[in-house]
């Protein structure tokens, strides 16, 4: 009887949608982490507003640009009928996964346990990046239908990620000039072993083992073309024209695509502002418990993108990714929103292992992107369920995915295993 009340209450909260559910869940976590009440209330509401903002932008994008993309796909018989809604949408929907809070506590506990048992030196203080483990738990839940299997997969993903962070720490410290820091974000670090092997292979190929290119001149040459706003506008014009719109229609599709590129990050900033006290509370808890020692601090791999080689490879990969998406027969994803960033993330480990060699990193990234497109295509049904649960209004028969989802190599492998259960 009593249990039923609890289950009903939880179902009711989940049914509210992330905009209202997240503030409630965060309030509870905030009390557990002893965040100051007045600050906590403001932050919970800010996060809810951030979710509202991301949903508004993505829903407008799907409503305005979606029909043109569908038209284009139909007219030209393209195989790329899955829309890329961008990683902020992926991350926001991930935080809205009803078990998100539980995953955070499981991973946090696991990290502390591993530190105490000296199984890792990685102190994962980046609260935001816990969304990678939640994403893993969520897709494994959708693959297996079991919450428990999902949780276990999330935990396995975290353990492997921490171990990989230990292994790569000296390499990334040297390559990116950030002492005492590692990058346990599973979407980039799961590629590290492959990047390592490929780099070994390049050493053995005559000619290739001597090639070099200057990253800064590449960055300077492309300049404004590398900016998301411009990429969005150009892609929008192409979709508009190929989707068979009149001039007014083309302009509107172009502006909405550019708007999505520019506005989703702004909405994400609001969402992030709300999450800051949690980030700080987690940081303080871990930093206080594990001070001094040989530990390295785990943070978002986004910091590696300051490296000029990563930026150069990222820019070169924008046109390359479009060509790959069109040519590869197994790919069904039409890269849009993520195209401006994704390769910069993927390039982190190729750049680190090759000591900033743009030619090598570029070749590795082409290989990674090929795999990534396959995974993004395979994850589309799961991704669509997650997006619908996160409050996005998708038309009938619309499949969405993200390039970002495709970079979660480890989570994808785990979800394949989870499917057996």
């Amino acid at each position: 009887m009593k249990l039923q009340v609890v289950i009903d209450a939880l179902n009711w909260i989940c049914g509210l949608g992330p905009m209202c559910m997240m503030p409630i869940i965060m309030f509870v976590i905030g009390i557990c982490l002893r965040v100051q009440i007045s600050k906590l209330i403001k932050c919970c509401i800010t996060t809810g507003v951030g979710f509202c903002g991301v949903n508004l932008v993505i829903n407008a994008f799907i409503a305005q640009v979606g029909p043109s993309v569908q038209n284009m796909v139909k007219t030209f018989g393209l195989h790329t009928n899955i829309m890329d809604v961008g990683w902020p949408a992926r991350a926001a929907a991930t935080w809205a996964y009803p078990m998100a809070a539980v995953v955070v506590f499981v991973v946090l506990g696991l990290n502390i346990l591993m530190l105490v048992l000296k199984l890792t030196n990685c102190v994962m203080v980046d609260f935001w990046s816990y969304n990678h483990f939640i994403f893993c738990a969520a897709i494994c839940y959708y693959a297996s239908g079991s919450v428990i299997v999902g949780l276990i997969c999330g935990a396995v993903c975290a353990v492997v990620t921490f171990k990989l962070a230990d292994w790569t720490q000296p390499v990334v410290e040297e390559a990116f000039g950030l002492p005492g820091v590692s990058f346990p974000t599973s979407n980039s670090i799961s590629w590290a072993p492959l990047a390592y092997l490929l780099n070994k292979l390049y050493d053995k190929i005559p000619g290739l083992n001597k090639l070099k290119a200057d990253p800064e001149s590449i960055q300077k040459k492309f300049g404004i073309l590398g900016e998301p706003l411009i990429i969005g506008l150009i892609l929008g014009v192409i979709f508009g024209i190929l989707g068979g719109n009149d001039v007014a229609g083309v302009m509107s599709v172009a502006m909405y695509t550019a708007a999505t590129m520019l506005l989703t990050p702004k909405m994400m900033q609001v969402l992030m502002e709300g999450l800051i006290p949690f980030a700080d509370a987690v940081k303080e808890l871990l930093n206080k418990k594990f001070e001094g020692n040989n530990f390295h601090i785990g943070i978002d791999a986004a910091l590696t993108i300051a490296n000029p080689s990563c930026i150069a490879v990222g820019i070169l990969m924008v046109p390359t990714t479009i060509v790959l998406a069109m040519v590869l027969p197994f790919n069904r994803l039409l890269p849009i929103s993520d195209i401006a960033y994704q390769a910069m993330w993927l390039s982190a480990y190729p750049v680190a292992f090759s000591k900033g060699n743009v030619v090598r990193a570029y070749i590795s990234c082409v290989i990674f992107t090929t795999i990534m497109l396959g995974i993004a295509t395979a994850l589309a049904p799961v991704h669509t369920s997650l997006a619908v649960a996160g409050g996005y209004k998708l038309g009938k028969a619309v499949l969405v995915s993200t390039e970002d989802a495709g970079t979660h190599l480890l989570s994808y492998i785990l979800s394949l295993i989870a499917r057996i259960f």
């Binding site: 300051a306 910069m344 993330w345």
Partner: protein, 96 residues
């Protein structure tokens, strides 16, 4: 009014964390500051338009692209280790 440019990979996550810390620090130091938030890839272009007094990247950004604007690496605002020293460095540059 001083201009502080804070940048990170996506201009969303870690730069927001750094700005949050810096806002408080600037208030404590009595410096009126305006923040510009952008991506690493945008720094080169924005430096020319905005002429900030200092650039605080959350990753190790090279200062070859910053037109002689001083760079203070702000990774500490994400890791939580060594925030005080970094804030002192930034305040020193702004008070010059």
């Amino acid at each position: 009014m001083k201009k502080i440019m804070v940048c990170c990979g996506s201009s969303m996550i870690t730069s927001t964390m750094a700005i949050n810390k810096l806002k408080q620090a600037m208030q404590d130091a009595g410096i009126g500051a305006k923040f510009i938030q952008c991506k690493f890839a945008e720094v080169q272009g924005k430096v020319k338009e905005e002429r900030p007094d200092v650039i605080v990247p959350t990753g190790a950004l090279k200062d070859t692209l910053t037109d002689d604007v001083p760079v203070v690496v702000g990774t500490c605002f994400v890791t939580g280790v060594g925030e005080k020293d970094t804030i002192e460095k930034i305040v020193e540059i702004l008070k010059k």
